[in-house]
Amino acid sequence: MAEEQVLSAKNRRKASPTLIVGAILVAAVVLAALLSFIWTPYNPVQAFPADRLQGSSAAHLMGTDRYGRDVFSGILYGARITLLVGLVAVGIALLIGTPLGILAGMRRGITEEVTMRGADILLAFPALLVAIMFGAVFGASTLTAMLAIGIGSIPGFARVARSGTLQVMSTEYIMAARASSQSSWRIARRHVMPNIIGMVVVQCSVSFAIAVLAEAALSFLGLGTPPPVPSWGRMLQESQQFLGTYPMLAVWPGSAIAIAVLGFTLLGDGLRDRFDPKLNGER
């Protein structure tokens, strides 16, 4: 019809600088981790007592620590631990938190109250506290760290999924779906999930950043991956006694943690700008 003009095709916005920088930083961490599988300059756990506490050089890009271990190799290997813990933790939270949130949003009443109170209780136990409890009972390990951070991240996913689901459930297209007798399962699959997937992806990125921070804090406290496997947090902790003389020992792992966290935070922000319907509107 001539009088009704068809709106021009979706004008995809260009990727924001936030998104690009975030993606680059995350990619750098991922590449470091992948690289550590096939190559590190030295064996990251092998000590060379003769070469202890050296500064940067051609032989040791980031110098060596107090046992003479190559810091650069440790940083590369640490990326692997960081990503592993992050992936498993976010995976646990995603797989448990999201369905619970959707359930709470679709089944109001008792189901919602129970689920959200459960989330409230979990919220009073931050990842670090859960990890400390795990450490006390089972002893510190990579596994306890991953589990603890994962459990601590569940409420975030449950809340995001629930609020997204509530938004979707209040729309008229859900009314229309119910008015043609679509089952709850089908509504969840066809309408709710595709519409909240953006928010969940953003939450993944944000949770990943939090998981990286928590892992670093745990290994800093000696409750994460046990030695000798290198982790950024413990490298930082071990550097503490040399702050007066070799501050670079703190700077390298510190920067690695900051880059990883910054990368995932920026990625999350960039993705949010992209997915947020409010920002994506006409204005």
Binding site: D120, L123, L128, V137, F220, L221, T265
Partner: protein, 315 residues
């Protein structure tokens, strides 16, 4: 208002009780016999039995739970199985140190976040505003223990202005207390301030696009004037939500910072207890931390009703 407060109080109690059950089951039921843990694998059965009777762990779990849980609200945490000392006076001593750190850090963080966040929102198109946002973005990515280490490198090791670690209670020697508290509080507050700056910024940006701000401008109020008179109180509601969540995060953050600065707070106590496998102490300190978090949430909810008249009038 009354009904809302009552509902929240009931929720608080229920959440708290469930949390005690969860912590008790996890810390007491899973690890096994505390007497065995305290005495080691080579203990004789007679000694074990005697120690169990002494600890009271020969009684049914349910009795042990009530014995522990009912003592908590009165500050009775029991006697450590490892150090054989009464836990309560230690916790009360330590909790003060941690609270001083956390409260000071939150005040400093808000003092950073409110002006800078507002500035970044008002000037969000100017380079200066973008720079503030950028700095806060980077601040968020720095773990507080790293911030602590950097502060020590610069101000204690490098410039030698302040002590690198240690603690003096404020009642004993205030000047010494002040010099020792500055760096840990800054370490907590700088990171927290960066996080809050971002939330303040987005809350103020949200408010700036509201219709009532346009109304205020159409009355003849200036940009800043309308923002201060009409915007900030509205923006404070979402910021309050975040602050309560962040306060809980700050309490946990303090655990780590106490380690960095060798401060005898709850965090150090908790970590030492973990190191000693002193499970009853861990269990009790965890419950104290959880209770503080829950109480903060409850108080924030009361604050909401004060701030927002829409909540005050029931549904």
């Amino acid at each position: 208002m009354g009904i809302r407060l009552l509902i929240n109080l009931v929720r608080f109690v229920v959440t708290y009780v469930i949390a005690t059950v969860a912590v008790f089951l996890f810390m007491r039921a899973i690890p096994g016999d505390p007497a065995q843990i305290a005495l080691g694998v080579n203990a004789t059965p007679e000694l074990l039995a005697k120690t169990r009777a002494e600890f009271g762990t020969d009684r049914p779990l349910l009795v042990q739970y009530f014995d522990w849980a009912l003592g908590l609200p009165f500050g009775d945490f029991g006697t450590s199985y490892i150090t054989r000392q009464d836990i309560s006076p230690l916790i009360i001593d330590r909790v003060q140190v941690s609270l001083i750190l956390v409260i000071l850090a939150m005040i400093v963080a808000l003092a950073i976040a409110i002006p800078f966040g507002t500035y970044a929102a008002v000037k969000h198109r100017n380079p200066s505003g973008i720079v503030v946002s950028g700095i806060s973005q980077i601040g968020v990515a720095i773990p507080n223990f790293l911030a602590g280490i950097l502060l020590v490198v610069v101000f204690a090791v490098g410039l030698g202005w302040l002590p690198a670690n240690g603690w003096t209670p404020p009642g004993e020697d205030f000047a010494d207390f002040a010099s020792r508290v500055i760096l840990p509080v800054l370490a907590l507050a700088s990171v927290q301030g960066a996080i809050l700056t971002r939330y303040v910024r987005s809350a103020v940006m949200e408010v700036m696009s509201e219709d009532y701000l346009r109304t205020a401008r159409s009355k003849g109020l200036g940009k800043l004037e309308s923002l201060i008179k009409h915007g900030l109180r509205n923006a404070s509601i979402p910021v309050l939500t975040v602050t309560s969540v962040q306060l809980a995060a700050l309490i946990i953050g303090a655990v780590v910072i106490e380690r960095v600065f060798v401060i005898p707070g709850l965090g150090s106590m908790l970590l030492d207890a973990v190191g000693n496998r002193d499970l009853l102490t861990v269990q009790s300190v965890v419950m104290v931390l959880v209770a503080i978090t829950l109480i903060i949430n409850l108080m924030v909810d009361v604050l909401y009703t004060v701030l927002d008249p829409r909540i005050r009038k029931g549904a």
